[in-house]
């Protein structure tokens, strides 16, 4: 399965949109508008952009702390994401989560999770709930290759395969767990071998090629939905920017980063569409100008957003008034 010309163009637009959003976020971080940790997705856009169109509205998504791109591609409005990073009440998590914890339950976007590997068991549980309620849905669970070293990866793949849970495990292999190279943390760097040992389909795809990701994700989602089994898809990608805004990048050579930048997924998709004659005069400019307006609007929306009153600090720890009274006393 390959994307139509229209779909291929939409993939390019989504990647451009994520990149511009991330560039703006970095700028606003430097300006002090966004604080805390900020993990940029620049370089990895083909993964979220290519995977999300394979899911339907009833499917669920679990993401990591580097999840702005996933949220945007899933349809969470850029305004709500930006307002969240500004710590505003209009943010998609009311300013309680920040960059690492974007949530939008109306889109079954069950969050950015900031404990490496911690989202995997939760994804298995969402899939279990779908299965028990006879809903033909897929849970897409994104995590980095660093999670493969965590026990929760192994426990969850085993459980999901044993119980035939419809989870699509999406391993975004950008080669570095913060600053630790894969080869310095794994006895066997072939992640598909590890995943396949749990008796589920395991494939790898070039995560810098958005059409390849799109095709692989459609195949994977189709398999999970049709057979009701888990599936492991490795997406080989690379992070062009530092791990977070605090990272001095002492662990990798500039030449290596430059080499990977030659495989920029946006440049590659642009070249592909140009070669196919799909980019008429002014098409890219029109896309970029739409994106610019959206991102500027998101920043303006976040700027005028409101701060939650401190008196509300302790809300949403428990359901509070929503908690039913006990049937009777002892």
């Amino acid at each position: 399965m390959t994307p139509s010309r229209e779909q291929a163009l939409a993939l390019l637009e989504q990647m451009l949109r994520i990149r511009r959003f991330e560039e703006k976020s970095a700028e606003l971080y430097s300006a002090g508008k966004i604080r805390g940790f900020l993990h940029l997705y620049i370089g990895e856009e083909a993964v979220a952009a290519g995977v999300m169109p394979a899911l339907d509205a009833g499917d669920s998504v679990i993401a990591t702390y580097r999840e702005h791109g996933h949220a945007l591609a899933r349809g969470v409005p850029a305004e709500a994401v930006m307002a969240e990073m500004f710590g505003k009440r209009e943010g998609c998590s009311r300013g309680r989560g920040g960059s690492m914890h974007l949530f939008d339950v109306s889109r079954r976007f069950y969050g950015g999770h900031a404990i490496v590997g911690g989202g995997l068991p939760v994804a298995a549980g969402i899939a279990l709930a779908d299965k028990l309620q006879k809903r033909p849905q897929v849970t897409a669970c994104f995590f980095g290759e660093g999670a493969v070293a965590e026990g929760e990866f192994h426990e969850t793949l085993n459980l999901a395969a044993l119980w035939k849970l419809p989870v699509l495990f999406l391993c975004e292999n950008n080669l570095y767990a913060m600053g630790t190279a894969l080869s310095r943390s794994e006895s066997d760097t072939d992640l598909c071998t590890k995943a396949a040992s749990y008796n589920l389909p395991a494939f790898s795809v070039d995560g810098m090629d958005v059409e390849a990701v799109w095709s692989a994700a459609h195949d994977a989602v189709d398999t999970v939905r049709r057979l009701g089994i888990p599936y492991f898809l490795e997406l080989k990608t690379y992070r062009f920017r530092a791990h977070s805004m605090f990272d001095p990048e002492l662990y990798r050579a500039k030449a290596e980063v430059d080499q990977w930048k030659k495989h920029c997924p946006i440049a590659a998709q642009t070249a592909r569409l140009e070669a196919a004659g799909a980019l008429g005069a002014g098409v890219i400019e029109a896309i970029k100008s739409r994106i610019e307006a959206e991102v500027e609007q998101a920043a303006a929306f976040a700027e005028v957003g409101t701060l939650e009153p401190v008196e509300d600090l302790e809300r949403d720890v428990y359901a509070g008034a929503a908690r039913p009274k006990a049937e009777r006393s002892p």
């Binding site: 949530f103 939008d104 028990l132 428990y318 359901a319």
Partner: protein, 326 residues
């Protein structure tokens, strides 16, 4: 009234939950084929089938996390962890996910999950199966911590926990499973909010919960024979604490002894003592006393284990100690 045991009361509660709530299911290590490591779920696999009584691999983090995800997505999972010591393998899921998701998502995600686990010492199971870590869990905002110490609570806490939109952890003291007694035929759901006064008294408030309730009631009986009228409070809920019942009792008796199988340092007993100091300092006729486990990993040898855990004589002595203050 019928004769029953704590174990059977817990099982009846599980049966009721599975019969009345179609979204409920039980999962954990050896809950099905084996019948539960403390035999609580014996027979439930045959009655409810493998879809609802789910034996899990030895993967505490995965199956607790799966319970969280299933709860988020519309089910009402009941997860059994064999003992509190094993629950440490799932701390990431309990503390970083179950307790935080509602807040971190700005109120969008609820985790209506029930976790049951055995806690406590007394069966010579040594230092990896005997600890009382419920006080640790009571430290965490976002969780509700309950400790059934009676047949009524063993029978009634689960149903109420299952109605709660937030995670509830039920701690079952392992020395209680064989406890026998009478239970009303119509016994059912109980509240998860209030402490209960299990014995009324006027001279000293003995504040306890879970596995030490029985010992504390026996100590109160001995104290009565010595002319001391002890009130016994069963906390029932460790988080949120029913401060009102504690303070009201202490205001009457003017003396308090806290009996807790947890260690003293950084503990639930320290928390209760501090709240009494903060809010009832001028009501007190004596400093608050504590009877807790000695500060050692619980040892195997019987005489040493007995010496490590709170016992009736030490409760009696502590109560007499606070009575000796003018």
């Amino acid at each position: 009234m019928k004769r029953t045991t704590y174990r059977e009361a817990l099982r009846e509660a599980l049966r009721e939950a599975l019969q009345r709530e179609p979204r409920a299911f039980l999962m954990g290590e050896d809950v099905g084929r084996y019948g539960g490591s403390y035999a609580v779920s014996k027979g439930l696999l045959e009655e409810f089938g493998e879809e609802r009584i789910r034996d899990t691999p030895l993967s505490e983090s995965a199956f607790v996390g799966a319970g969280i995800g299933a709860a988020m997505a519309g089910m009402r999972p009941i997860v059994e962890i064999m003992t509190v010591n094993f629950s440490l393998l799932a701390l990431d899921q309990i503390v970083n996910n179950a307790a935080t998701l509602r807040h971190m998502s700005g109120g969008q995600v609820g985790v209506p999950l029930v976790i049951r686990m055995a806690t406590g010492g007394g069966r010579q199971l040594a230092a990896q199966h005997s600890h009382s870590l419920e006080g640790w869990y009571a430290h965490i905002p976002g969780l509700r911590i309950v400790t059934p110490a009676t047949l009524e609570d063993a029978r009634g806490m689960l149903w109420t926990a299952l109605q709660d939109p937030d995670p509830v952890i039920i701690f079952e003291h392992l020395m209680l499973y064989n406890m026998e007694g009478k239970l009303a035929e119509e016994a059912g759901a109980v509240d998860l909010d209030r402490a209960a006064i299990r014995r009324a008294g006027t001279d000293v408030s003995l504040i306890t919960y879970g596995g030490t309730l029985g010992k504390t009631l026996q100590a109160a009986e001995e104290l009565a024979q010595a002319g001391v009228s002890a009130e016994v409070i069963d906390l029932r809920v460790l988080r949120p604490l029913d401060e009102e019942t504690i303070l009201e009792s202490v205001a009457r008796t003017r003396r308090a002894v806290i009996v807790d199988e947890g260690w003293k340092s950084g503990s639930l007993s320290a928390e209760i003592s501090t709240r009494i100091m903060e809010k009832a300092f001028y009501e007190l006729d004596a400093p608050v006393a504590r009877v807790c486990s000695r500060e050692v990993p619980v040892p195997y040898a019987r005489h040493l284990e007995e010496a490590a855990l709170p016992q009736i004589p030490s409760i009696v002595a502590a109560a007499k100690g606070v009575m000796s203050h003018a």
